[in-house]
């Protein structure tokens, strides 16, 4: 299910401590990165890999916003809705981006390229309204053509 690199990364996390549980956070992140979701199949797989119960893995997976129960698009476009971004027009930007992509927050474009998310403060408030494409900070979104966002 996972690439050799991914397995190596999980193994490295596992080697850090005696507790196999410790590697779970890394396993979830790596799996999300490769599979774009941590759904029932992935949960069973991780549970087997680390020798943990699937219920436990699911409980932890569902705690985190960046671990998705259903597949995301190829890219995740996260628009910050934090208070600082709100004060800099984030609501208007979110509405414009939603209209451009033809989807609402939480949805994925029909071609599967973009999932749009509204997220809490991402810690990039000096570039408000802040946004991220996958792991990259791309704010302020008002300053770049919104069109460009979807071409990155």
């Amino acid at each position: 299910m996972l690439s050799k690199d991914a397995l190596r990364e999980i193994e490295a996390a596992r080697a850090e401590e005696d507790s196999p549980r410790h590697a779970l956070l890394t396993a979830l992140r790596v799996t999300q990165g490769e599979r774009r979701q941590v759904g029932p199949e992935e949960i069973t797989y991780i549970a087997d890999l680390l020798g943990l119960s699937p219920a436990l893995v699911q409980g932890v997976a569902r705690f985190y916003d960046q671990i998705s129960a259903t597949p995301t698009g190829q890219h995740v476009l996260s628009l910050c809705r934090g208070i600082s971004c709100y004060l800099c027009g984030a609501d208007e930007v979110a509405a414009a981006v939603g209209e451009l992509l033809g989807i609402r927050p939480g949805e994925t474009t029909a071609d599967g390229r973009f999932t749009l998310r509204l997220v809490e403060c991402v810690g990039d408030c000096d570039r408000a309204p802040a946004a991220m494409v996958d792991d990259r900070f791309v704010g302020p979104v008002a300053a770049v053509a919104i069109d460009n966002l979807t071409k990155m």
């Binding site: 005696d18 410790h22 932890v60 960046q66 004060l87 810690g123 000096d126 900070f137």
Partner: protein, 454 residues
């Protein structure tokens, strides 16, 4: 603008080890390694350094709580989960001067007798984790960090761990739980992390900026640190200012620096030449200040405390006079409702209720008692939860309503019904002053002579 912590941060070349070394990187670690750990703790204690993550707890004292028994593994955890809304100072430090951060981690670990350290970064900082990891690889290749750090005989292993999106992981026991591979439900204290922390071992959790300060202090001495700031607020502070200002960004200031001077100077004044309405000085978890309250204050722990708020994380959020405070409060309340981890009922339910009541007020569907209800819900959260998130969620609600009450009252329904009801039984029972028609009919029926119907 002070230049103590950030003196090298403006130069992008600082990310590279050779440049950083020329600017004095790791001299503090070298100095620390030449001393017994207790003396490093004593030096930090003497500097008066207080935690820069939000709580302001004296760092030297925190370190002195570690008393490891034979066979125990001590851990230093660097909290780089920076998620308090409006806070992005650690983002700045890690991005601009990663070696200063690593040096601080190394010093903290040495001081508490740890050979293992983790830097826990929020998942959104994955790109910064790469910068930090590159710096760590360089420092390890140069034998500065690793087995036998700088030929001192001291071994240190630093691991960078990314989170996956949850505000509560910045709470120290939430961070520990997350690192252990659990849901980040905060733990009941005592026992404190210094006794039972990560994997039940003695653990210290320090903020990024705090450890960076420790690096400077070991390089230049506690006295040089105390040359900055005020008596009880020693040193400088990174202020991340955002919202309605012309120049949002991270600025290092002397503690004790006048707030208005900062706002007009470094931050460039209110955006669009507007007036100032309010300031949240240290992240959304601290009470808001009106423009009038903020005017005489200085940026330090005591001054903020005297005004009933806190310096917190230094995440300063500025509101211009065109801001709707109820709208802004809704945004903040929704944050806490989303980020409450769900472990404690008062917080899990209460944060949702506060957001819900604010939403209905703003939708024009408020009820007469809604402001009182909001405050009561807050009272029932505060002090009744395991961690500080619940308390934090109450601060904005209470302070916004108290300080900007007319804006909230304007959202309440017209009190027609209330007035009419009050007059019932007091005023003369005439059509004009009596209770509403329906009520009048009913009382007539009761009060009227029993024979009337016959």
């Amino acid at each position: 603008m002070a230049q103590y912590l950030t003196r090298n941060a403006l130069d992008p070349a600082q990310r590279e080890l050779q440049t950083a070394l020329r600017a004095g990187a790791y001299l503090g670690f070298k100095q620390a390694l030449s001393l017994p750990p207790q003396e490093v703790v004593a030096e930090i204690d003497a500097s008066g350094l207080r935690g820069r993550g939000g709580a302001g707890f004296p760092t030297g004292r925190k370190w002195s709580f570690i008393h490891a028994k034979e066979g125990q593994t001590v851990y230093l955890l660097c909290n780089a989960d920076e998620s308090e809304p409006g806070t992005f100072k650690d983002h700045y430090l890690i991005e601009r001067d990663p070696h200063l951060v690593l040096e601080g981690v190394a010093i903290g670990a040495y001081a508490i007798g740890a050979h293992r350290a983790y830097i826990y970064m929020r998942g959104e900082y994955a790109s910064l984790a790469e910068t930090l990891a590159a710096a760590l690889r360089e420092a390890m290749a140069a034998d500065i960090i690793g087995p036998n750090c700088m030929n001192s005989g001291y071994d240190l292993r630093i691991t960078i761990q990314l989170g996956a999106g949850a505000y509560i992981c910045g709470e120290e026991t939430g961070l520990i739980q997350s690192l252990e591979g659990r849901r980040a439900y905060p733990r009941v204290r005592p026992p404190f992390p210094a006794v039972h922390g990560f994997l039940q071992e003695p653990t210290v959790v320090n903020n990024v900026e705090t450890l960076a300060c420790a690096a400077r202090i070991m390089a230049e001495g506690a006295e040089a640190f105390k040359d900055h700031g005020t008596g009880r607020s020693a040193g400088t502070k990174l202020i991340s200012v955002s919202g309605a200002v012309e120049r949002p960004g991270v600025y290092e200031v002397e503690l004790g620096y006048p707030l208005m001077e900062f706002l007009q100077g470094e931050a460039g004044g209110i955006r669009g030449g507007r007036g100032l309405k309010a300031i949240i000085p240290g992240g959304t978890s601290v009470p808001v200040l009106t423009a009038e309250e903020a005017a005489p204050l200085t940026i330090d722990y005591e001054s903020m405390q005297s005004a009933g708020t806190m310096l917190g994380s230094g995440g300063m959020i500025v509101f211009g006079d065109d801001t709707s405070m109820p709208q802004a409060l809704l945004r903040i309340a929704e944050f806490y409702a989303h980020e409450s981890c769900g472990e404690c009922t008062p917080c899990r339910e209460g944060t949702g209720w506060m957001a819900w009541v604010l939403r209905r007020l703003l939708a024009g569907e408020g009820r007469p008692g809604d402001l009182g209800l909001l405050l009561r819900v807050g009272d029932n959260i505060e002090g009744r939860t395991i961690c500080g998130l619940g308390d934090a969620s109450v601060q904005p609600v209470r302070s916004f309503i108290r300080k900007f009450r007319p804006e909230f009252e304007a959202l309440l329904p017209e009190p027609v019904q209330a007035v009419a009801w009050q007059s019932h039984g007091h005023g003369p029972r005439t059509g004009r002053f009596g209770p509403p028609a329906e009520e009048a009919t009913r009382s007539e029926a009761v009060d009227g002579p029993p024979t009337a119907a016959l």
